[in-house]
Amino acid sequence: MRKYSKLVLMVAVFAILAAACGGAGAAEPQQCTDDPYGCVVVEKDQPIKVGTLLVISGPNASLGLDSQHGVELAADYLDGAFDGTYGEIKGHPVELVFGDDGCSAEGGQAGAQQMASNPDIVGVIGTSCSSAALGVADTILSEKGIALISPSNTGPALTDPAQHQPFYLRTAHNDKLQGAAVAHFAYNELGARTAATIHDGSPYADGLQAVFAETFEQMGGTITDREAIQVGETDFTSVLTAIGASSPDVLYFPIFAAEGGLIAQQAKQVDGLKDTILIGSDGMLSDDFLNAAGSAADGMYLSGPDLSAFSGNMDFYRGDFLTAYKEQFGGEPAAAFHAHSYDAANMLFSAIDKVAIDEGGTLYIPRTALKDALFDTKGMLGITGELNCNATGDCQSTATIGVYQVTNGAIPDTPVYSEKASLEG
Amino acid sequence: MSHLLELTGVSKRFGGVQAVNEVDFHADPGEIVGVIGPNGAGKTTLFNIVTGFYRPDAGKMTFDGHNLVGLKPNQVTRIGIARTFQAVRLFANMSVIENAMVGQHTRTRSGVFGAILHTRRTVEEERRIQLKAQEALAFFGDRLIPRINQLASELAYADRRRLEIARAMATEPKLLLLDEPAAGMNPAEKDGLIELIGRLRDEKGYAIVLIEHDMPVIKGVCDRVVALDYGSKIAEGTYDEVASNRQVVEAYLGKAASEVQ
């Protein structure tokens, strides 16, 4: 009996302690009670929590980590300096909560649920992979009123009006823009009339090549071969030989650094591809790819955001930003998406700054208002270009896509082709 | 009248070796037949042919009206032939009773649905399996019954031998094939074995064929003895007839051994 009495006593002590610590909350402002999703309440001296939901484990990890680094740098630069400590918004430090989308639907679900179940999370930067977002993370988070901004989803379906989830935005290019721009470039600039494509089974690559092929054929070109490879493989000579059998003018393979590098190398060894022009996209627009491809990359074309259109930010990007990146994460960026995620995070931060209500040190962030502020982003200067969010969440709705030609083992600052494309157009 | 088991001109080659060479062999109900012969004479191969592990290259085999050629081991068991192995081969990680219960497999038929739904038929059948298994174990008096829930691997060597026979009995055979049942037994245990084999015939009515190197055992139980050498039958008859056959003595028994008898 004595044991139980002690237990009861202990519980009582806890309860009192808890009550003392809990304190009485101040009344919520009007905006919060009006908002169907309520407010995120950040108490005095507590951090503002922003989630990331990127692929940081498994074979695609380098992609997600690259994006994550972009977010970390954005948080770092909030105080106007890359000093390794995160800045503040309205007197509250920013805290990042790292999630993992696993680059898969189930990973996206678990990760999104984790974010959704934490009421302190203001918004989430993610996902890396379309499969983690489409019908999964975008839906789960939208149901909770949490904004999800993806730095690297490019699948058209995500912002298709019929499927778009209200709290979903992205700073990555819709495949529709990039795939079409590459097709224009190939047909008009390069004068190509035959083309072949390779994808790697990822929705990203498959989507891009599909848009490219469609546009190319619409313009009057012929697609001679559409092939696919398996991620992780190293020998693509069989695929290339098959493609080489019809010697297309252009080979478009919008895949990622490792396999992309190998294809660039091995294409040189295939007789039928001796005169074929190789084109990749932003999955390979990185030093990682240049490393992987070595000298074989020279002369190749890569599409991506036209950074030179914004010379002001360009210097910042090439200067402070990349220096800080190398300093903090020990190496060159592995992909192009850190820039998109940096922009995404800044978009979120400035929206928070815009809508947050300060009541005696406690911050109230109404969720719907935050979302609206995000969708209202217009003309914001990011490092990937001007951000103009449209009604279905495409913030690169009017982007300038550039095609760069690799020269002397480097990607030059100015593209050989630039196209101002618009989703509405 | 036809024999219970009848082999005519059965042969089997392995690569260049003629393991069994045109052997005629038969066993009748209630008969105990011994098979002797030097190591490598083809005795176990013969067992393996009869039980469907090997398919004979040539020859005819019938059992109880069935053609044996081409049957798989499980089908052979179903028509009534059970065997033991030269080296005891039990299901080491199953209990004693489970080993015996598995023996009832061909005599029962409940399947997946019965197992899941526990239909009345399945429950009754399960009870019958238990009963039959215990019956087979009980044949060995108090040797196996008290150890019914032990793992087979925990049994002493002689009990493993017994359990192997009990498992064979649980298949409700007409013919029992025993492969060197006395191997590894000491003289006292061999005496017990002789008695046991006699009882198997008398109480259960099995026909029994056994391979054995131990002459006292062969002498003690066999109605008829068949001697093999290099895959061929070299002698057949009563123990005394075979043991005094010159070829058998030279190839197999040796001088001293035949003197001892």
């Binding site: 380098s62 559409r226 696919a228 030989t241 | -």
Partner: protein, 360 residues
């Protein structure tokens, strides 16, 4: 296996339709039909020239040679310990990846292209040493405590070790793919029998054959090799012969590791790339090759590797192009494993494996 030889005097009541045999025959026929008809159709279209086929075969032999070398390591360990060392691919990766840093240093100093032979020698040594050390550590920490445990247990440990090593190296060296420096001396082509062959592919194929031969001799003729075979057959009796069982097992892992390290250098000659997951797929392929050739047999592993490599290289193009299957090369695993199944249906022990069944 053989067809019916005799009619039955009396049909047994429980003889049912042989479902399995029907499926088996149907499946084999389907695969064979697919292969033959597909190949015929492809050849008819004339999509590929003779030179194309020749290139594909040589490519296949080159990648098959790498598989073969890794597969030999698998088979060695299997022959002695009867365990699938799932982490063998990571042993391969560890040496190769580490040698990358040496190669980069050599390349930056210019030494690599001034003294290519010495450099290549250094790279081989570095890679082989690191892989050997990793293999030995693996044996000591992950496998030795489990000697005598049921076979699935070390399999799981091996899988665990495989993940552990992958992510350890990721933690150490980073997640990015890195380009292995190219060695100018082995770029370009040689003319053999009037045809041009890539130098590096020829080197890989020849080197693999040399390594295979050395290993074959080691196992067949030397005392260590004999000890390895003895431990593989009966560990206890091997000890009874005065063989140091532990040391023999370590030696087996070491040899397998060294070969994996060597295979890694050959791999980067051809593919010029290192990343922390680079071991997984080749490891899996090598495992497949070892089984295809008959696991436990060294020559079988070598043969299995080559066959698998060639099959992967030409299979999809040959069998599927004519059948108008889109993206045939994507279906490479289907082709490779389909053929594997076919082979194992007819040769359940692989090409050179012993069929240890007591049933004939």
């Amino acid at each position: 296996m053989t067809a019916k030889t005799e009619t039955r005097t009396r049909r047994l009541p429980f003889e049912r339709i042989p479902v399995r045999r029907i499926i088996l025959v149907a499946l084999s026929l389907a695969i064979i039909y697919g292969v033959v008809a597909g190949s015929a159709a492809t050849l008819q279209t004339g999509t590929f020239s003779g030179a194309d086929w020749r290139t594909l075969v040589v490519n296949g032999l080159a990648r098959g040679s790498v598989y073969a070398l890794i597969a030999i390591g698998y088979t060695l360990v299997y022959g002695v310990l009867f365990m699938i060392n799932f982490a063998h691919g990571e042993v391969f990766m560890s040496g190769t990846y580490t040698s990358f840093f040496v190669a980069t240093a050599l390349a930056e100093s210019g030494y690599l292209n001034e003294h290519p032979l010495i450099s290549i020698g250094i790279l081989f040594v570095v890679s082989m040493v690191v892989s050997t050390v990793v293999a030995i550590i693996l044996e000591r920490l992950a496998y030795r405590p489990l000697r005598g445990a049921p076979r699935l247990v070390p399999l799981i440990t091996a899988i665990g070790a495989s993940l552990f090593l992958q992510y350890t190296f990721r933690g150490l060296y980073g997640a990015n793919v890195r380009a292995y420096p190219e060695i100018a001396a082995i770029q370009g082509t040689w003319e053999i029998f009037g045809f041009d062959f890539l130098k590096k592919q020829v080197i890989v194929i020849v080197a693999a054959m040399i390594f295979w031969l050395i290993l074959y001799l080691v196992v067949a003729k030397t005392k260590t090799g004999r000890a390895m075979r003895a431990v593989g057959e009966d560990r206890e009796v091997a000890a009874l012969m005065g063989i140091d069982v532990d040391r023999t097992i370590v030696a087996t892992f070491a040899i397998g590791g060294a070969l994996a390290g060597a295979a890694g250098i050959l791999f980067v000659f051809v593919f010029n790339q290192v990343i922390f997951i680079m071991g997984f797929l080749p490891g899996l392929k090598a495992f497949t090759a070892a089984v295809l050739g008959g696991i436990g047999s060294i020559s079988g592993a070598a043969l299995g590797g080559l066959v698998l490599g060639v099959l992967e290289a030409i299979g999809p193009n040959l069998f599927l192009t004519g059948a108008n299957v889109p993206s045939p090369n994507q279906l490479q695993p289907v082709v490779a494993f389909g053929i594997l199944v076919l082979v194992l249906i007819f040769l359940p022990g692989g090409f050179l494996g012993s069929d240890e069944e007591e049933r004939a």
